[in-house]
């Protein structure tokens, strides 16, 4: 079982960037007024940020990372680890991490690589950063996590289009003997790989003329094979089945209860799903911050975006004990228990 702890790595800072352009689901004319109200009330998404065509995930990541490095006062030559996590990379080839390493002016001695994960991206990313820094003794590392999901959602697909928003984030880590350990419980189940999928464009189903054909998949659901498909009920049942046991197992391993944490930051899947998980874990509303109403489901960026925009005061002026949990596409899920003790948190960047 992948339950483990990594010492000596300090959570040093976090920053987020979103596109300037904001759209409201109340203006989503593909569905009825009543459906639009339901999107806001039940799914929980009112507004979303949408990247202009041509803006890539790396642009948002670089904006967030630049500001974060400045506010941290870091020497760029000391940043020797960069991990980029996304499902909307700049190119099929090459990896995006190298492009970001260059644009940020990081040294050639920097280890840079991509990881392809979505909803669980940040929690998996923290584990990769902490493990590698602890093993390699690299002093400073940047975790860049985000997605531009709106480009691959079909306007005529009411099950995906009104759900997603774009955002990207940067999280900074430093090697520090006095840091509290970070604790993880990570899990995977690839039998559900097609619950959230873009079927064409990879090597299994290489792009072809047929990839562009729109098909009806249900009432109000038309998309082609280069656009994202989401089996809402399957994902919902997966999350209700797996998320709370994962969190409870980590709490049990740490001999802690939910009262030992200040905030529970969840992937912003949809309001109904998150509220159901909150109730199953018996968590007070005040302990569970949300960004879904303002920014939608921001895929891999959802947890760091929520920390940056909702918990800025607690993490920059004090110490907050955070319990975070990401779950979704893969299927992949996991929890991270991490302390944010007077960390650097620039204001949200609008790109």
């Amino acid at each position: 079982m992948a339950i483990f702890s990594i010492p000596n790595v300090r959570f040093a800072g976090i920053a987020s960037a979103v596109p300037k352009k904001e759209v409201s689901n109340l203006d989503y004319k593909w569905v009825s007024t009543k459906d639009r109200e339901m999107l806001v009330k039940t799914v929980g998404v009112e507004n979303r940020r949408v990247a202009e065509p041509g803006t890539a995930t790396s642009d948002l990541c670089v904006a967030a990372a630049d500001k974060l490095i400045q506010e941290l006062g870091w020497n760029r030559n000391e940043i020797e680890l960069l991990i980029f996590i996304s499902q909307s990379r700049d190119y099929i080839i090459p990896s995006t991490s190298g492009i970001i390493q260059d644009r940020l002016g990081l040294p050639h001695s920097c280890v840079a690589y991509d990881i392809g994960l979505g909803c669980s991206g940040w929690v998996y990313g923290v584990s990769a950063m902490a493990s590698m820094m602890y093993a390699s003794k690299i002093k400073k590392g940047l975790l860049l996590v985000g997605d531009i999901s709106t480009l691959t959602a079909s306007y005529r697909d009411k099950s995906t289009y009104p759900l997603f928003g774009d955002a990207a984030t940067a999280t900074a880590f430093e090697l520090d003997e006095n840091a509290s350990p970070i604790h993880f419980n990570l899990e995977s189940d690839g039998s559900g790989y097609d619950a959230i999928i873009i079927p064409d464009g990879g090597m299994r189903n290489f792009i072809s003329k047929k990839s562009f054909d729109y098909k009806k998949h249900g009432e109000g659901i038309y998309r082609n094979r280069l656009q994202i498909a989401l089996n809402g009920i399957e994902v919902f049942n997966f999350a209700l089945r797996e998320v709370t046991p994962n969190m409870k197992r980590l709490l049990q391993e740490l001999s802690k209860s939910t009262a030992d944490f200040d905030y529970f930051v969840f992937h912003q899947a949809n309001l109904l799903m998150n509220e159901t998980i909150r109730k199953m874990m018996k968590l007070e509303k005040e302990k569970v911050p949300y960004t879904i109403r303002k920014f939608g489901n921001t895929s891999s960026a959802s947890i760091p975006l929520t920390i940056t925009t909702q918990l800025k005061d607690s993490i920059s002026n004090g110490k907050a004990r955070l319990f975070t949990c990401g779950f979704g596409v893969g299927l992949s899920w996991g929890s991270v228990a991490i302390e944010a003790d007077h960390i650097v948190c620039p204001d949200l960047i609008e790109y």
Partner: protein, 76 residues
């Protein structure tokens, strides 16, 4: 668990539903403007109130509130 409580729990979740309108024999697709979001609301209610997991197939094969109630009861 009783069918009366089950109906009450559904009424709590769907607030545009007139109290007393749902009966055990009511075909729920005729009362609701049925869509996948409503299915999720139902799944979430069953999970939080009864700790049971119902899936899309369970909902599809149920016609009346009572059909659904029996499925939930068998899973508790």
């Amino acid at each position: 668990m009783t069918i009366e409580d089950f109906i009450k729990n559904i009424e709590t979740e769907f607030d545009d539903l007139e109290p007393g309108k749902l009966k055990p024999e009511t075909h729920f697709r005729e009362v609701f403007d049925w869509n996948s979001i409503n299915a999720l609301i139902l799944i979430a209610m069953v999970k939080t109130e009864y700790g049971a997991a119902i899936n899309a197939e369970d909902i599809q094969k149920s016609k009346s509130i009572n059909d659904l109630f029996e499925i939930v009861k068998s899973k508790v």
